[in-house]
Symmetry: C2
Subunit: 665 residues, 2 copies
């Protein structure tokens, strides 16, 4: 049902007024995009979008993603006007102030109705791709009765110019995600000026080249907008709707210029806009009749939701569907129990990337929520299992995504899938290429999206590919990201334990840093009765070997260097020097332990030595200034792994003398 034409104008102007008033009150913000896209947003939310303010988590709701997150007042206005519990008008008055859910950029953890956190350009659209993938996957398993919704993305020129856009739309086009519709705010203005200052691209042609349907509309004409939306919904391909708009529309002297993109209009221009828009109302006041028009929209979504709930209740798949959407946190460790017990009997000497594949066998067999994939390194990342058949345009029910050579697009899609719900994605690339998707990993952490990054080839131990491919600073630098658990397991059992832990923290994403080269097992028989309760990696660091002679040294290491620490300890013990070995697969989990546990593991009265084939800065947190940090503070080199380990000093023969010098032996 179409909105009444004059009501539509007033409803859109309510968005414009709230936007300019909130930005003015904060004295900082981005009025241009919300004012420019207000008409498009009003038609979308007024006539097309399926949403229910009373039930923001309704699984079959349409997803709305404001990829141009700087235009946050658009979504805050929409949520308030349509009757979500938050933001209140006071929240909007406090736009960009401490404690207000109306943060500078929309954050999914602050407010219902914000499906994902946006602002870092391009990622919202790429997360939308992931949401659309999750939707199709669940549709394939649960049918159109239970899962059939659209993902609507609003994006600006910035979102389209960023490299990730190419990756995201390439993936979406290839996967024929017809339920994905991107509304491009085609206003021809960027921060630096006209788009033509830096780009001459024929954007529709590029989208078509990537398998998209493209249509155009006048973004200020509801009739034109509707026609474009109808065409987009009818087309089986993902759609780009180019909405020709005037940035900052309503600001008589500033609209259409870059000046309105990211700065308050100023009191005089706000007043002039009130005249221009015929909006005589006080700041933060929306007249009752206009608010009523907005609030009336909720009925449509409520009805659709009620009908959906009725279908769910009647469905034979109701319990399965609930389970699919439920947490898998408690299920990971049990799924691994018999596998780990088997390892204990016969610990294999395998690369941890291989051990990861082995652990993924029972995990993916048991946990149907897991959707794997790799950025074109399937055989190297060891991410595919028999249970994860390919997810393709012809088979959305599959659980393995060939993401292509698109690390950033993959990571953002994983975030989108996770935030959609019903699936838990993991994805692989080389650890070095975490650099390519680093900001999406950060957004996993900021959004509390418990995805798992399988990052293999985790040190100079990858050997001959050389310094371009050898992570040196990556492990430590990932540890610096808040709310991200970085695991670097030492052998097959630790790898399985870390997988269990990674899936036990649905609000914290995880990185598994895994070796290319085979690793000597350091765990075994003691795990014959392994259970979740005996997971030794759970405390982040643990004493793998106790000193035999009087303890003078504690060696701490991660991943492939744990066996180097074991060799070093043996050499020290042979000289009568007692040495503990501490395996420290996850610094973040160790940091959360009690002071007593920490001082037991890293006692004050021993020389503390860290061994990790990466940069040393950061390890002083555990060794202190009187300890030793064995690491690699330069780029690596191209040679076989064992040559490099010796060359860069990762052997007992090279380490022991440094320890002896330090303890004065």
């Amino acid at each position: 049902m179409s909105l009444n034409a004059s009501a539509q104008v007033q409803m859109a102007n309510a968005i414009r007024a709230l936007t300019m008033d909130a930005v003015q009150a904060a004295n900082i913000g981005h009025p241009g995009m919300p004012m420019g896209m207000a008409d498009v947003a009003t038609v979308l939310w007024g006539e097309y979008l399926n949403f229910d303010p009373a039930d923001p988590h309704w699984p079959d709701r349409d997803r709305f993603v404001l990829s141009a997150g700087h235009g946050s007042m658009l979504i805050y206005s929409l949520l308030h006007l349509t009757g979500y519990a938050e933001p209140t008008m006071d929240d909007i008055r406090n736009f960009r102030q401490l404690g207000s859910p109306c943060a500078g950029h929309p954050e999914n953890t602050h407010i219902d109705g914000v499906e994902c956190t946006t602002g870092p350009l391009g990622q919202g659209l790429a997360m939308g791709v992931g949401m659309a993938m999750a939707e199709r996957h669940l549709n394939a398993h649960y049918g159109t009765d239970l899962v059939n919704h659209h993902t609507w993305v609003m994006a600006g020129d910035g979102c389209l110019m960023e490299g990730i856009n190419h990756e995201a739309i390439g993936l979406a086009g290839h996967l024929k995600l017809g339920n994905l519709i991107v509304l491009w705010d085609d206003n021809n203005v960027t921060i630096d000026g006209a788009v033509g200052l830096s780009s001459s691209e024929d954007i529709p042609a590029r989208y078509r080249a990537s398998g998209w349907h493209v249509c155009l509309c006048d973004g200020h004409d509801p009739v034109s907008i509707r026609a474009a939306f109808d065409e987009a919904m009818a087309d089986p391909r993902p759609s780009l709707v180019a909405c020709r708009t005037i940035i900052g529309k309503g600001s008589p002297n500033k609209q259409g210029t870059s000046g309105v993109h990211g700065a308050p209009l100023g009191a005089d221009e706000v007043a002039a806009a009130r005249v221009e828009l015929n909006w005589p109302h006080d700041p933060f006041v929306v007249p009752a009749e206009i608010l009523a028009d907005w609030r009336a929209l909720a009925a449509r979504g409520a009805g659709t939701n009620a009908a959906w709930k009725a279908r769910l209740s009647a469905s034979a798949k109701q319990a399965d569907f609930a389970a699919q959407l439920g947490s898998i946190a408690d299920k990971a460790a049990p799924a691994l129990e018999s596998y780990i017990r088997g390892l204990a009997a016969n610990p294999p000497k395998v690369a941890s990337r291989k051990a990861s594949e082995m652990a993924l066998g029972p995990l993916t067999e048991t946990l149907t929520q897991l959707i794997g994939g790799s950025a074109d390194l399937t055989g190297s990342n060891n991410t595919k299992t028999p249970a994860t058949t390919p997810f393709t345009a012809d088979s959305y029910g599959g659980r393995y995504v060939y993401y292509g050579i698109r690390e950033f697009g993959m990571a953002a899609a994983m975030n989108g899938m996770f935030l959609h719900g019903g699936v838990v994605p993991y994805g692989g690339t080389f650890l070095i290429f975490s650099d390519y998707c680093r900001n999406a990993i950060r957004l996993s952490a900021l959004q509390k999206a418990g995805v798992v990054y399988v990052l293999t080839h985790d040190s100079i131990g990858l050997g001959e590919d050389g310094p371009t491919h050898q992570p040196v600073e990556q492990v430590m630098s990932l540890r610096l990201i808040p709310n991200l658990n970085v695991y670097r397991p030492a052998d097959a059992i630790e790898t399985a334990e870390c997988w269990a832990l990674a899936l036990q923290t649905p609000q914290t994403p995880s990185v598994l840093a895994l070796s290319r080269q085979n690793l000597v097992p350091v765990r075994g028989a003691e795990d014959a009765q392994w259970t979740s309760a005996t997971n030794r990696c759970a405390k982040g660091a643990y004493r793998l070997k106790s000193a035999t002679a009087a303890r003078k040294v504690v060696l701490m290491a991660t991943g492939s260097e744990v066996s180097v620490a074991m060799d070093t300890a043996a050499a020290l013990e042979a000289q009568g020097i007692g040495a503990d070995v501490v395996s420290m697969p996850c610094q973040e989990l160790f940091a959360a332990q009690s002071a007593a546990y920490k001082s037991d593991i890293l006692p004050a009265d021993a020389l503390k030595v860290s061994i990790e084939a990466g940069v040393t800065q950061g390890w002083e947190r555990y060794t202190g200034l009187d300890g030793l940090t064995i690491g690699l503070d330069t780029f690596g080199a191209s040679a076989p792994a064992e040559v490099l380990f010796e060359h860069f000093g990762f052997s007992a023969a090279k380490i022991v003398p440094q320890i002896l010098a330090k303890i004065g032996n």
Copy 2:
């Protein structure tokens, strides 16, 4: 002059043979691309490319970039066969072994003729864009007689699928870089299998949409290759030449499959390929007559080079040209001298981003090599000066690049420009978006490319834009990259000093982390006679204020927190507790100082306290375990800067009690 047809076949087979033999000997590597592109490479180097093995640094040589760097045996074969001093055949025998210049991926610092380090996909092509930009810029100033060469890039499907490709070709198309020609190894195979597994893109259409000329050729037919090259050279737009090839061509049982992409052929298949190629020669043996055909090619380049040298000698611009290509390392500090002395008389309270703009005034006025730019944040990064007029397709002589919303493409282009020579690029974005271009920053460091990253909005001090835009871990994580100097200056004078230092290290790239908010000056009158020799930032850390009372505390801080440290010291001194304040704008430079200097600045007998509005891990290197690290180990929030500083504890009032507790007062 066209190569003789049968000679061409043999010459190309020499590449194939060296490739399969070297990969086989190393037992690891990527034979598929060199064997597939051998014919294209032979025509290019044999008939088109201007190169002179006797003078690899000839400024007007064509640039050849192997963006698909995993195919490194292609460039090693070409350099050896055409007579470069390196690699020798022994170097090739030692492919991928420690000490060989023939590293797994080509590294510019190892071997002449490798114009840039490639392997991280997509970046070679993007660096090629930068090289083509530098060429056009120098052409604009020095004319076609002195500067007129092509940049030839070989790229695979991976380079084209990566997001950075979109940014790079968008920039190149917009700038109409007609001297840039990309040879796409269109072999339809990626690591995971057929390209169609993950992509359905119409690549030529996408390139055309970005303003490129596209032509096709049969990559195994010299006649077809020549026709395409001729067409590409004639077209005024940048060109994509789609070279239809068979990956691993010559391997009878493996060619055309993903199996030949990244693994040795195996002894049996190498033998079979020898038969297939009619190449009965022993491994690493190139018959004299075939080698002679290759070596003869050098004459063309030598002649062109000689003619160029003659033109240079006769040119009125000879001295200017030499100066343009010379180092600016000694010129930066003198250019700033009178400016800094002026600041000393009247230290301004400005944001360090503004101070950077002020320093760039005299720098860009004096140093014509500097080419600035920003990824669509010119007014926020403060990167533009009066001397840097826009670099556009109509005005390549300009020195300011509107890079668009393309951080990764910008950083890679900066690397390419620097490695081309004759220009020294700096470019700006928000510090948070260093995440988007992180691997290009790493490649600056690995390649010893002394570019300067102007990264503003460097902490929660940016305020209301909130956690998506607030760097928390970025400063420390950039410090972890080897051979990268990270500067975080405290006020206008320090900012100028850091700019001088950044330009004094042409083999080390620099990051300037700069504030959005105004900073209280901490330096002044003592710099009235400032010279390079008095640059206090040069040692990385220095005592800004000495304790008045008996010293119990040393406060170290960077950037905007230096004034917080000054406030804290004043509060401590008021209680009779002596406190030094150490400003530490560059940890890397401090690390290079003598032990005596370091222990003087950070004495063992004082409580050491770090204050930085970022993650604390890494600061223990300076505070020890008995010190205090004041920082921010969570994400930020959206609010005005001063509110956030207080909220997160960056004030003397919040810090002093922690110090008192620690020292038992």
